[in-house]
Each structure stands twice: as structure tokens, then as C-alpha cells.
């Protein structure tokens, strides 16, 4: 088989592989490093970090569902200062490429986080998570409101300057995803992360109450893959020049290729790592082989391949 160019770009950031962790599914890399070298994958997208340390939602925080799971963590984390002090140097020491995910409760908090990251060396890109479903007030899910989404991204863009690529992470729980995607790209997002988890609920039949401590949770895993593929396809059709980091239920190389053909320039692996600590490596190897079997010499030729003209068949 011929050589495969497996590299990809998100904005001006180059990665040797299109396989990434998903934010919130790899902490800050230390736990997975026991199972594979973090430098072997495209990059580590760290768990969304906020300005201050946060303890998150009450337990139970998890419920397995058919081909998926609900989580209700609520952005537990160390806060940006401890993260910059401890986690970034660790990831750099592992030669990992780093995408820092940030989350805020206000437009200003996102800007504050961006200001702290501006002077930190060794970061490839910033994911702006405006779509975490596990917040107390659904009105705070910025990605459900086109105007709020734009304001967050605009604030981060102004603070960050033009250097670091911004990846806006969006929610599928909206009526018109394309208009929200267009809005954040206009406001300065270089790339999009699609999709965050889908809001769901499980009722515990022993207690006859919602099972999760936070009542609602985010659904992830293979159950949501068709939603993610659809979201990536629709947004890529509307914004073909905007790179997309696709995620949602990818657990094999075939799943990854579906997402890529729909328009993803990179894919994140989340829930699959919970079931298999080496899932990222397995999926990466399967994707490489599958691309070569299908005759691609460059990964980038496969991005959005499902959108090609009919006469191209």
C-alpha cells in the first residue's frame, strides 16, 4: 500500500494524526498515559477548566444506557491556575499536543480564561466549551443561544489575539445548528467541535425518581453517533472551509471514517476510552488501515468525501 499522509490541521494548528481525546474524557492525560504514549495521538483535549476550582454535581453522576451512558459531572476541576501550573507542564513533558478546553459561567469568565492562556507556551489550540449541559441553569448553555454564543467567541477572540486557533464546542440540542455555527465562525472561531452530549434522563425504578444526582445528564456513546454524523454533515455543507473536530459515539475506525466523510477534519474519542483505555490507539490504527484500503493517500482527501458531486462517483 502507498504511503498515507495522516496529518491534519485545525485553524493554523498542525497535528500528525486526526485522532484526539474528547474533553472531559481524558482528564489532563495522566491516567491514559499508563496505557499509551500521549504523543502517539493527534492531541489531548483537556477537561474543560473554569476560573476557579469546582467540585461539580452530586453523585450518582453516571448511568449506563443502551449503547451509551449519561453523565452529570458538572465541570469538576482544579481551576485554571492550578491547571496551568501542574497539567500543562506534565503534558509538555509527555510531548503531547495540547488543546485546552475552557468553560465559563459568564462571557467575562471566558475572556478571563483566554487571558490566562494567552501567555502559556506549548498550547496548540483552545476549545471554547459553550455547550456543557450539566449546569444548573439551562439558560447558561450559551450554545443554545446564537447571540450568547457569538458574544463568548468574540470576547475570547479579542482577548486571545490572532495566534491560537479557537475551536467552539457546540450542542446538538438546538433547532438550527447551522445558524449557531455560522454565528460563532463570524465571531472569530477558527474551527468547531461537534457535538457535545445530548441532554437526557434516566428514572430509577427503585426510588421512582431521576437516577442522577443532577437529575439530567449528557448522553454519550454509540447511541448518539448518528446525531453527531448528521450535525457534522449539515455544518460542513454550510461552512465547507471551517474545520470540524467531530465527536459523538466513535468507537471504531469505521465510525471515525463516517464522521470524517461527513466533514470532520479530526475526531475526538470520549466514551470509548471509558470502556477501553487503549481505544484511541485501536481506532487510530483502524482508521489508517481503512483509509489505505479505500485508496486514500492523504487523510485530508477523505474529509467531507460524502459531500462530493454525484457525477464524481
Amino acid at each position: 500500500m502507498s504511503e498515507l499522509d495522516f496529518s491534519t490541521t485545525l485553524g493554523n494548528a498542525w497535528f500528525p494524526s486526526p485522532i484526539f481525546t474528547a474533553s472531559g474524557c481524558a482528564s489532563s492525560g495522566r491516567e491514559l498515559a499508563q496505557f499509551f504514549p500521549l504523543s502517539d495521538i493527534g492531541g489531548v483535549v483537556t477537561k474543560s477548566v473554569m476560573s476557579k476550582a469546582r467540585s461539580g454535581r452530586p453523585t450518582p453522576r453516571m448511568a449506563e444506557t443502551p449503547s451509551g451512558m449519561l453523565n452529570s459531572i458538572g465541570l469538576q476541576g482544579p481551576g485554571i491556575d492550578a491547571f496551568i501550573e501542574k497539567d500543562i507542564p506534565y503534558l509538555i513533558s509527555q510531548k503531547a499536543r495540547i488543546v485546552v478546553s475552557i468553560a465559563g459561567e459568564t462571557v467575562e469568565e471566558y475572556s478571563t480564561l483566554a487571558r490566562k492562556l494567552r501567555s502559556v507556551a506549548g498550547i496548540s489550540a483552545v476549545e471554547v466549551n459553550i455547550s456543557c449541559p450539566n449546569v444548573e441553569n439551562r439558560g447558561l448553555v450559551f450554545a443554545c443561544d446564537p447571540e450568547a454564543s457569538r458574544r463568548v467567541i468574540d470576547g475570547v477572540r479579542r482577548t486571545l489575539g490572532g495566534e491560537l486557533p479557537i475551536i467552539a464546542k457546540l450542542s446538538p440540542d438546538v433547532t438550527d445548528l447551522v445558524s449557531i455555527a455560522t454565528g460563532v465562525v463570524d465571531a472569530g472561531a477558527d474551527a468547531l467541535a461537534l457535538i457535545n452530549t445530548v441532554l437526557g434522563m434516566v428514572i430509577n425504578l427503585d426510588t421512582m425518581r431521576p437516577h442522577l444526582g443532577g437529575k439530567t445528564g449528557g448522553l454519550s456513546g454509540p447511541a448518539i453517533k448518528p446525531i453527531a454524523v448528521r450535525a457534522v454533515y449539515q455544518v460542513h455543507a454550510a461552512l465547507p472551509k471551517t474545520p470540524i473536530l467531530g465527536m459523538g459515539g466513535i468507537s471504531s475506525g469505521r465510525d471515525a471514517l463516517e464522521m470524517i466523510a461527513a466533514g470532520a477534519s479530526g475526531v475526538s474519542i470520549g466514551t470509548a476510552s471509558f470502556g477501553n483505555p487503549t481505544a484511541l490507539i485501536t481506532i487510530q490504527n483502524e482508521l489508517k488501515e481503512l483509509l489505505q484500503v479505500k485508496g486514500f493517500t492523504s487523510f485530508r482527501d477523505a474529509v467531507g468525501f460524502a459531500h462530493r458531486d454525484e457525477e464524481g462517483d
Binding site: R30, E31, Q34, F35, P60, P66
Partner: protein
């Protein structure tokens, strides 16, 4: 920060034995040299359901006993209650089946450096890892007394061979169908009073661990407990299995029971805050 789960490996392990023991299954896996790294209190995370399963998460089980370097390699033993879909699938696997396991995970029981007197308290099949622990403590020269409790007789797990490592074993059932009628916590205050016990080790339901802790907090005794919270990953990345735990400065944070546990210092766990927002 020390390396997390530094002995853990993902293995294709063969089931060498799967026997029904009362309400439970005793399942023995060949894990080769990995057994040398498994300590009492460690757990394994097992992929259940096969390739086409709709169960996407691993199941965590405490390692109950470890046998090192047999002719066919080291083994670990799990005691599994076939309650949910995943554990039922595992209990239905036949000898010779190859299973994807990640082992050893988590923080093990601390073993005293001196041959002190210890009390082991188990609830239900939570007693399983205590027998492996008893062997290690016995080898250290500790006097080991054990209390086991359950709601009823067939939920007590107490294998014959396990009793060899303990100096005394008392059983309590709530319905009186085995041993003495009552709760396993009933005799603990008197035992702590009468005997020179340095450490209480416990494993079982959270309510039992909390009740034991209330008793040990009245004394100088150290309480090492193996906590239980539902886990999605077992390796520290999902943040679902957290418990409120204080550090030595008294600051409380949500620690992962998979990495900072399952064995924790009972005096630091904030039992009244479990399941609540900090």
C-alpha cells in the same frame, strides 16, 4: 505527583475456573506475571458483553485473592454477584473464555509495618477481598479477627480455606439465619474496648462503612475502608465515582474512588456529605 495506576495493564485473560458458591460466583483468571502486582484492595475493570454488546462500560470487581506463579501463571480470583446485566454475563462465561481485563487498579489496603492486632469487617460479598487481606496480614504476624454480616445466611461469603488466615470469625445476620442475629457493627464497640486493635479494615455497603466509621471515630483506631461508588471507567478519566474527602489540612474535595480509593482513610471521608454538592 506519582504515576497513576503504574502497575496496570490491559490483558486478555483466560478464565481458568468459574464456580458457583452460594449466591455468588468464584471466577479465577490467569493474568500471568501481572498477579505479582495485585494487592488486597486493588480491583479490576472488565469488558463485558462481547463485541456486539450494548453495554459500553467496564465493570469493576475487587480482587479477592491472588495466587502467584503457578505452573500456568499467576491468577486472580473475583467473587461476583450476578445482579446486573454485566455481572450476569461474566458469571455465564465458561472456563477457557478469554476476557479483556484491566488490572490491577486503585489504591490497595495499607499493611502495618508492625505485627499489630487488626479487625476485619465485611458486609455481604464485600468480605471477599478481606480473605486475601487476612493472608497478607497473617504473614506479617498480625492477629486477625473477622466479623462478617449480611441480611441473611446465603448472602454471607465465607469460604472454608479463607478461615485459615483468621484467628476468629464471627458471623451476623439480620434475620438470624446464620451466626448471631444482629448487625455486624453491634460487637465492634466492645471489641475496640476489650482488645488492643490498631486497625479496622472494612469492605461492604457504604452504610455499613459509615456506621463502622462512627464507632472508630470514638477511638484512636485507624479505619481503612474500601468504598463503593458507581464507576464508568475505573481508570480515573470519567470523574463519576467521586466522594467528598478531607486532606490533612481539613480541605474537602471530591476524590475519585477509583484512583484515590477504593481504600480510603475512613476518618477523612465526609460520610454525611456523600451524594451532596460541596
Amino acid at each position: 505527583m506519582t504515576q497513576i495506576n503504574k502497575s496496570a495493564a490491559q490483558l486478555n485473560a483466560m478464565i481458568v475456573s468459574n464456580k458457583r458458591v452460594g449466591q455468588y460466583h468464584q471466577i479465577i483468571f490467569n493474568v500471568g506475571d501481572n498477579a505479582d502486582k495485585c494487592k488486597p484492595g486493588n480491583f479490576v475493570a472488565i469488558n463485558v458483553g462481547g463485541d456486539t454488546s450494548r453495554m459500553v462500560l467496564r465493570r469493576a470487581f475487587a480482587i479477592s485473592r491472588v495466587t502467584k506463579s503457578q505452573s500456568f501463571g499467576g491468577t486472580i480470583e473475583l467473587i461476583v454477584a450476578p445482579h446486573g446485566q454485566g455481572s450476569k454475563w461474566l458469571c455465564a462465561q465458561e472456563e477457557g473464555a478469554i476476557i479483556d481485563v484491566v488490572t490491577p487498579l486503585g489504591t490497595a489496603f495499607g499493611i502495618p509495618t508492625e505485627p499489630v492486632q487488626v479487625l476485619l469487617v465485611g458486609g455481604g460479598y464485600g468480605s471477599a477481598p478481606l480473605f486475601g487481606l487476612a493472608e497478607v496480614l497473617n504473614a506479617r504476624g498480625c492477629r486477625v479477627d473477622m466479623l462478617l454480616g449480611a441480611s441473611t445466611a446465603n448472602k454471607i461469603y465465607a469460604p472454608m480455606e479463607g478461615k485459615r488466615s483468621v484467628n476468629s470469625l464471627r458471623i451476623y445476620t439480620e434475620d438470624g439465619s446464620m451466626g448471631q442475629k444482629g448487625r455486624v457493627t453491634d460487637p465492634i464497640p466492645a471489641l475496640l474496648n476489650d482488645l488492643d486493635i490498631a486497625v479496622v479494615y472494612s469492605c461492604g455497603p457504604m452504610a455499613m462503612l459509615a456506621a463502622i466509621n462512627e464507632i472508630t471515630m470514638q477511638s484512636e483506631v485507624i479505619h481503612q475502608c474500601a468504598v463503593e461508588e458507581s464507576m464508568a471507567c475505573g481508570i480515573g478519566i470519567c470523574m463519576t465515582c467521586v466522594l467528598p474527602v478531607a486532606n490533612s489540612q481539613g480541605e474537602i474535595s471530591m476524590l475519585r474512588s477509583c484512583i484515590d480509593g477504593p481504600v480510603m482513610d475512613g476518618a477523612l471521608v465526609q460520610w454525611d456529605k456523600v451524594g451532596h454538592v460541596l
